[in-house]
Symmetry: C2
Subunit: 376 residues, 2 copies
């Protein structure tokens, strides 16, 4: 039985990426390294899209998030965190660990932020230096409107920092058009590469603001990364095989066309949402992202049992509910290198599992809903 991952990261790894990672390693102090890293960086920019500096870190997405905090703030500075799930809460936890004065805009899990609420908070606290947001909150499947946030934050002196860890590739994250000063993502999400590379974009305005930020840092010092990139080296040893995989993944994205990649994610997510409704279930968040679909389960259907069944009978890994939603959600991801028949497969397996759990519906309605969307 083949292993099939429909979790919102890590995502399926294409053969081309595997091959690139198995190629002879580019020595990080050798003459091929400058071109190697600059090429990966150049290929990354169109997928946000961004014209800002892009830096590659030897870290997970969490490390890239921490880099955004420690490079923009000083102890006691005020920051606003938009928190509507587990990944929003990570911004808060990082800020608090560093003695930042955090104002948390705490929203119910599954809700998208109203940018007017952010405007009010910023008006109440004009000394806010940074606003931290999450583009796609994968713990609940919600998409926050970063463009609207950018308009609101752009009327203040604050920087806008966005966690695009799961959204990049599934949705555009137009840093320059939307006024995003720092966006972070990671290799194991939309890019279909194993975990281990963090990605950070930095605007000119963010570089300026960093000059007065005094939180301590060394490994995550973005200035060191920028200098090293200019000199064609890594400040520390970078994960070269994973970066080679990223290069191959970005070639696949370029071949498909990033606009088509976004459209594919929209179509696949819509197919899963339609299937969810056809199966008599509901989509959990009020503004669902195209990264994954968080399916709210009825009280008498146990999400953990479904996950175990999908794994045992079909080799399928999906995401479950996190924290207080454990057991109450099934999160089906269509992120990364996923094709139409993959979507059919996971919905069909989900149907079979729901039937086994005693949920009542006309067999095949979920798959029929997928077929309908895919055929349009």
């Amino acid at each position: 039985m083949r292993s099939r991952i429909f979790a919102p990261g890590p995502t399926p790894i294409p053969d081309e990426v595997q091959a690139a990672m198995a190629a002879p390693l580019v020595y990080h102090r050798g003459p091929d390294f400058p071109d190697f890293i600059r090429t990966v960086v150049a290929k990354l920019k169109p997928v946000f899209p961004t014209q800002d500096d892009v830096l590659l870190l030897a870290s997970s997405g969490s490390g890239a998030m921490e880099a955004a905090v420690v490079n923009t703030l000083s102890q006691g500075d005020r920051a606003l965190v938009i928190q509507a799930g587990q990944f929003g809460a990570k911004w808060t936890a990082i800020c608090q660990a560093y003695g930042v004065d955090v104002d948390v805009l705490d929203l119910p899990w599954g809700s998208a932020v109203d940018s007017m609420q952010v405007a009010e908070r910023l008006k109440a606290h004009p000394d806010t230096r940074v606003v931290f947001a999450t583009h796609s909150e994968t713990s609940t499947g919600v998409l926050h409107d970063v463009e609207a946030l950018g308009r609101v934050v752009g009327e203040t002196e604050a920087l806008l920092v966005v966690d695009g860890v799961s959204s990049v590739i599934a949705h555009p994250l137009r840093t320059n058009d939307w006024g995003v000063d720092i966006a972070v993502t990671a290799s194991q999400k939309g890019l279909g590469v194993p975990p281990g590379v963090g990605v950070v974009t930095v605007s000119a305005r963010a570089w300026d603001a960093m000059q007065s930020a005094t939180l301590p840092k060394f490994y995550l010092d973005l200035n060191a990364y920028r200098t090293a990139l200019e000199e064609g080296r890594g400040p520390a040893t970078l994960p070269m095989t994973l970066m080679a995989g990223m290069g191959a993944a970005l070639d696949l994205v370029a071949a498909e066309g990033i606009e088509n990649v976004w459209a594919r994610h929209a179509r696949h997510a819509e197919a899963v949402r339609q299937a969810t409704v056809a199966l008599g279930l509901s989509v959990f968040p009020d503004c669902p992202s195209n990264v994954l679909t968080a399916v709210a389960l009825p009280e008498d259907v146990d999400g953990l049992a479904i996950m175990a069944d999908l794994r045992a009978r079909f080799g399928i890994t999906v995401g479950g509910g996190l924290a207080h939603l454990r057991g109450h959600l099934i999160r089906i991801s269509n992120l990364g290198f996923v094709d139409d028949l993959d979507i059919l497969t996971v919905v069909s397996a989900f149907e079979m599992s729901l039937q086994k759990m005693g949920w009542s519906f006309t067999p095949g309605v979920g798959v029929a809903a997928v077929e309908k969307v895919l055929s349009e």
Copy 2:
């Protein structure tokens, strides 16, 4: 032409490691993850050897070093750094970035530390909380006597933290016998895995000391890593494919036997040192490690030209001199999964390159010296 790496990390990647990294990925929130990570950790302990806790970080060796700093110290604490090359200087730089009061025992590059000097410094500054040392200083090829350091530091209240990034696998680093409280290493050195995994051992005494350490941390918080490991998860997404590669590499080490692995590194390093002398050159450090041989070049032989020639004609990557030694050293590594004929190959290529640069010797004397050691 095949690519051959004789740099002190990254090192050659065995086929078994490549295969393990290409296997289906273990999902970090799935039921297979606890066993997966605990197995890798259990296999790692005998190679130091250590009975202490072992933690795996999504970072390079530099990140693991920073974890040792931020988890053991508070701002203004006093630390002693034994600095005799670029990697010793990294301890100093990290400590300074975090406002630690650093006492630097600055030794000439290429020298090994005399533990009596350390004893004197600790006597002069009894408030020193942590002593930072480098086991194998790869920038110069020197091996510091960690056992002797452990005796001296053990007579004080200070913790002993050792950078074993390049030494582990080549030399034993007996944390418990020698009184090493924290040792760090990384995947791309002796373990023959691509870069991206940092490794940290932590003694019971270090865990105790950490309770009062207040330097800010989140991503590198070792307590979070310990709790996560106990619960069978990663605190952030860990680099699972690289960890799978580590598991395969550790199986190879276990099959050979760690004592035999250490003996092989001793024999190979001795062969390169004998070849160096036979070629009329000298070994740079006063106490060479078995990780690599830093060959001091005569004034009229340009190390950069040799490196370029080795790469162009033979596809060989060796290390060069760093910082003020740039162009003056060739660093030939035998670290990791290297066999007898690999050593013959690199010395033969080095001979041919030296000849091309006009260095005068009887052709074949280097290789003959290698053969002699390998045949003993």
